[in-house]
């Protein structure tokens, strides 16, 4: 009952709880291990590489933070990314004879990705809120649908962007400002806006209220359905943004694009301290979660201490540990 009142006297000086410190410490430990194992680890090249690769999952995970905070879940984001990538490539290839290689066709591709993402997110949100179907079921369904659609569009193979276009589009992944590549810049912007919205804006408060108790939110003049719908729509748009960054990297999409991204994004959100059943979320925590997952992968690749094939196992252990830490924190209040 009164377990909350623990630490009451020293509330001004008390350390942040383990659920806040845990992910930060884990990240620092990983950086330290990496630096000891390989001198190139802290080099600009490697850091840029890790951050740029984190950006796709990271951008999606920021949207996922809102969905989970509002008490939802979205399993379809990986397939959705693959489908949007495929669609984007098809649209751009089709428009090539008309528009030619240039900025307009790139903008067309980007618009396609954003609109497709928005519509896909709205569809998920509509089925979940208006029709009242479980989020798990809806997004499990759309996950299968998008994956199958991209396979069908690619006729079982690979959809490739026209070579000339690809060359023109490449800088969106590889170039940047002052040596910081575009995916990192966009990721940073998404994170900053996301953090402000989550912690300072009415929408973030409404998400947390909805996830914490749907009934209380309803009785408190929060439009529960609209809030939930907005989180899915926002996630869809962010999947579109991530795809815009992803397509120039390889210039192709296939049935294996974006496989397991949804689980990585959800894992990052949970490691970051957002509560899986909703009601509490923090965007900066999600960023730490994404970085932790990327660094494990990176360290295993740079060192030969542990086989990189064990990457998934180590990530799995970390996810479970994160949830145990969360529970300890909750028990203590």
């Amino acid at each position: 009952m009164a377990s909350e009142t623990v630490n009451m006297p020293e509330r001004r000086r008390k350390l942040p709880s383990m659920s806040v410190l845990g992910p930060v410490i884990a990240l620092l430990v990983l950086v330290a291990i990496g630096a000891m194992m390989n001198p190139n680890f802290l080099g600009a090249g490697n850091i840029t590489n890790v951050l740029a690769r984190s950006a796709f999952i990271g951008i999606i995970a920021v949207g996922m933070t809102f969905v989970i905070t509002a008490g939802g879940l979205d399993l379809s984001v990986g397939s959705m990314a693959a489908f949007i990538a495929g669609l984007m490539i098809l649209v751009m290839n089709a428009a090539l004879p008309v528009l030619g290689v240039g900025v307009p066709i790139i903008l067309l591709g980007m618009a396609t990705a954003l609109i497709a993402g928005l519509l896909a997110g709205l569809l998920n949100g509509f089925l979940i809120t208006t029709l009242g179907i479980e989020a798990f079921i809806v997004t499990l369904g759309t996950m299968g649908i998008y994956r199958s659609l991209v396979t069908w569009l690619a006729d079982g193979g690979t959809l490739s962007l026209d070579f000339g276009l690809r060359t023109f589009y490449r800088p969106v992944y590889f170039d940047g400002i002052l040596g910081v590549s575009w995916p990192i810049i966009v990721f940073a912007l998404v994170v900053i806006i996301g953090e402000v919205v989550m912690s300072r804006a009415r929408f973030g408060r409404h998400c947390a209220a909805t996830g914490s108790s749907e009934h209380v939110a309803h009785y408190s003049n929060v439009n529960v359905n609209r809030t939930r719908l907005a989180t899915y729509a926002m996630l869809g748009v962010l999947v579109g943004v991530a795809t815009i960054m992803y397509v120039p990297r390889l210039g192709s999409a296939s049935a294996s694009t974006g496989v397991l991204w949804e689980l990585e994004a959800i894992a990052a959100v949970i490691i970051g301290g957002t509560v899986l059943k909703g009601g509490f979320g923090r965007v900066w925590g999600t960023v730490i979660g994404v970085l932790i997952l990327s660094l494990i992968d990176n360290i295993l690749n740079l060192t030969d201490l542990v086989s990189p094939y064990l990457n998934g196992a180590i990530q799995g252990v970390i996810i479970i540990l994160a949830v145990i830490l969360q529970r300890e924190a909750k028990a203590k209040g």
């Binding site: 623990v6 009415r202 914490s212 009785y219």
Partner: protein, 504 residues
């Protein structure tokens, strides 16, 4: 006098550095009903949890038949014949009534469950508490009062030597409470020791043999019930005189403007043709049995559930209220009867809860957290909210403080018309007095107030005029001297109203 079955001796209990029980002594005897009374936060629930082994005491001794015991868990307590019925039900919602009654001690025949025997006994226990639910009904489909009866049926099935009940009648109607008391008396006659808490002193007087009064984590008085009047109990609980519980009723001026006029409000399945008017400065009571559609009608009026009205006027203007924000825009606000499920986010702090409903008033695109903090400071002062610290989780506040916070929360929208549903359910008498005074002041300052309540005394003590609902319709209206318990009951039960009692 018989030896106590179960005793607490100088029991202290701390949560972290905060001690909530300071040396409690309690004796529970076979064949006797002990009432434990006290304000919210006095430590009644904690004392009961220590008794049942649900929480270990920090220091002190717990004696069972004179032998010191240390229950490591609730199961050891139950094995010793001590059953605790929680304030919040401890039933598995998805399981059926029968499965719940035998949960954890299912009867078996060989390897398989003995369903026939469990069915037979479930029916027997349910019949003893006169509960007419089918043992196959999932608990999630039951009303709160049926759940309470199932809890008691479950305790019957455990052959409890000591039965501990935390506010068993809080969710029961008077008729259901009477059934519960019959069972309590039957159990007492068979030698069971019974402890219960209640905020209703009338029922303490009626059913208990002895009463122990707790205040601030200590037992301040224990006496046979026949030696204490209800007033003396209340005074002992609060530590001051509370005989003037209700503020004096102010007269509503005959020319006071009509703030709210409702014509032919229908809430499908719950209420039909509800029409009434509310004047500025008036407190309108809505009485009726639980399930008479009182709550649903008012929720429908405020756009919280689907409803239709021939005409709704606020301050003389015809308005359409389809969703909660419409009601708030017209400065009409509803305070829910269920503060835990619908009123407050128990996982969140006081600040987030206080401003949630009126968040648009705090900052524009971004929330102005300074303004929120200032509002919390004001609310804590104005409503006398007693929390250990400002960032306490609201779920850890006592019921009375939660209710005050909830009231402060709805007041953030600055309503002109306030509908309060069971404003004092399950809270102590001192806090009740504060809430009554607040509502009375609010009416005096020209607001219109509707009070829905199952507590007759509350309606009689507060309302200028009373509507009695029965089966979704307004069965009668009473005003002034005609507001009596008997008149309300007659209307609520549908016994032909005496024409003399009709309000002019």
């Amino acid at each position: 006098m018989t030896e106590p079955v179960l005793s607490l001796r100088n029991v202290h209990k701390s949560f972290g550095p905060v001690e909530v029980l300071h040396g409690v002594d309690l004796d529970i005897r076979a064949g006797e009903v002990l009432a434990l009374i006290g304000e919210n936060g006095a430590g009644k629930s904690t004392a009961m949890k220590c008794l049942a082994g649900y929480q270990p005491a920090s220091s002190g001794r717990i004696l069972l038949d004179g032998e010191e015991v240390n229950f490591a868990s609730l199961h050891e307590g139950e094995a010793a014949g001590i059953v605790l019925i929680h304030q919040e039900f401890n039933l598995a919602e998805q399981l059926t009534v029968e499965q719940n009654i035998f949960l954890g001690r299912e009867l078996r025949r060989g390897l398989l469950l003995d369903k026939a025997e469990m069915r037979r006994r479930s029916r027997e226990y349910l019949a003893r508490v006169k509960c007419r639910v089918d043992p196959d009904t999932p608990v999630s489909k039951l009303s709160n009062s049926d759940k309470q009866m199932v809890e008691i049926a479950k305790a019957l099935g455990r052959d409890a030597r000591v039965l501990i009940m935390d506010e068993p009648t809080a969710v029961l109607t008077n008729a259901e409470a009477a059934i519960l008391f019959e069972q309590v008396e039957a159990l007492r006659a068979t030698g069971t020791a019974i402890v219960f808490t209640s905020h209703k002193l009338g029922e303490v007087k009626q059913i208990a043999d002895r009463v122990s009064v707790m205040r601030d984590g200590m037992v301040v008085q224990t006496a046979p019930v026949r030696d204490m009047s209800e007033d003396q109990m209340a005074t002992a609980m609060v530590g001051r005189d509370v005989s003037d519980l209700y503020p004096a009723k102010a007269e509503v001026a005959a020319d006071a403007p009509v703030l709210l006029r409702v014509d032919g409000l229908d809430v499908p399945g719950f209420a039909e043709g509800v029409s009434f008017a509310l004047r500025a400065g008036e407190i309108l009571g809505i009485a009726g049995l639980v399930g008479s559609g009182r709550t649903e009608a008012m929720e429908g009026l405020c756009g919280l559930r689907i409803a239709r009205a021939d005409r709704t006027e606020i301050a003389g203007q015809s308005v359409q209220i389809r969703k909660p924000s419409d009601a708030l825009r017209h400065r009409l606000c509803y305070l829910t009867e269920d503060r835990k499920l619908r009123g407050l986010l128990l996982d969140k702090g006081m600040r987030e809860n206080l401003t949630l409903q009126a968040l648009a008033r705090f900052g524009g695109l971004l929330i102005d957290q300074k303004a929120e903090d200032a509002a919390l400071t004001r609310a804590i002062r104005e409503f006398d909210i007693r929390a250990g610290r400002r960032d306490v989780r609201v779920g850890n506040l006592s019921g009375g403080n939660q209710q005050k916070l909830l009231l402060a929360k709805v007041m953030q929208s600055e309503p002109q018309i306030l509908i309060v549903d069971e404003p004092t359910r399950g809270i102590d008498i001192g806090t009740k007095q504060q809430i009554y005074a607040f509502l009375s002041d609010l009416a005096a300052s020209g607001h219109g107030i509707v009070v829905i309540s199952s507590e007759m005394q509350e309606i009689i003590g507060l309302a200028n005029r009373v509507l009695v609902m029965r089966q979704g319709r307004i069965a009668g209206e009473l005003a002034g001297e005609a507001i009596t318990e008997e008149a309300i009951v007659r209307h609520a039960m549908g016994v032909g109203a005496d024409p003399k009692e009709r309000a002019a």
